[in-house]
Amino acid sequence: MVVVSVSQRVASDDQLARLLQIGIVLEEVVEARTHRHYQQLDAELDEEVEQLLADAAEESAAHRERLETLIEDLGVDSVPFGEIESLVDARYGRTRPEDFDDVLYDQLCNEETAYKFYDDLIGAIEDSDVEFSIDREELVATLTAIRDEEAEGVREVTEVMERR
């Protein structure tokens, strides 16, 4: 049995970079799944859901780019999108969303999970007194902006779900 960590704070540049990489993968999962759902439901796509999925994919791509800039500044490579896309495809190749409700529910989970991830990450950075090689204020401001957009995403999906 090996000693585990019980501290909820980011302790180094490397750990921060790894967490940002995880953020990128989460965004890539959203993009790949959204694209897949979009394709699968294409024939009967509802305009409101279509717009929601398009916006979500665009937002995830923008978040990914912002995270990529941060980790580039830390001197770490990000995970290529094609790799994540093929993993999502391999896993979902045999399944299809049943209907719009499934797609919306999935999208809600995406937004909620991303919100939770960024919120925890901001907390763990704020609890840490480590000096990172990138500007802390800028880092927290970027992550806070992304988190707030995820919160807005949760609100938007919930509203569409309630209307249906």
Partner: protein, 146 residues
Amino acid sequence: MNTADQYLKTIYVVQDQEDGPASTGSIADALGVSPASANEMIGKLEERGLAEHEKYKGVTLTDDGIVRARDALQTYCIIERFLANVLAVEDFQAEARELEAVIDDTVAERLDTIIDREPECPDCFDPETDACSCLEIAAAPVEPEQ
């Protein structure tokens, strides 16, 4: 994963290794905390009905505690598999230990959608190597004897 879940996971693994109640000392050692801190958290777990502490014997998880501990172990396996198979992290055990406190269960569930976990998870967890025994990557490379 919150601190309580980290304790539950540790108690579950120590109980399995010791084949009986987990001693406070072993729990504290495994978590890298003082016995006093371990005692305090064990008291909280008892209050929540997740563990039972018998003096001079040790800690035993209740049925509810076992469910939570297995969930936590599963989350840990997801983090390890994700680091090893998706991010190709060589020392994935050490990084998983560092990251587990910061990764929430809902986030792990999302990461789980792109990794292939075996149905026997978390029984596949091997405390000796601190890794899932089904991982394709050798968790604890053993030098072949010449």
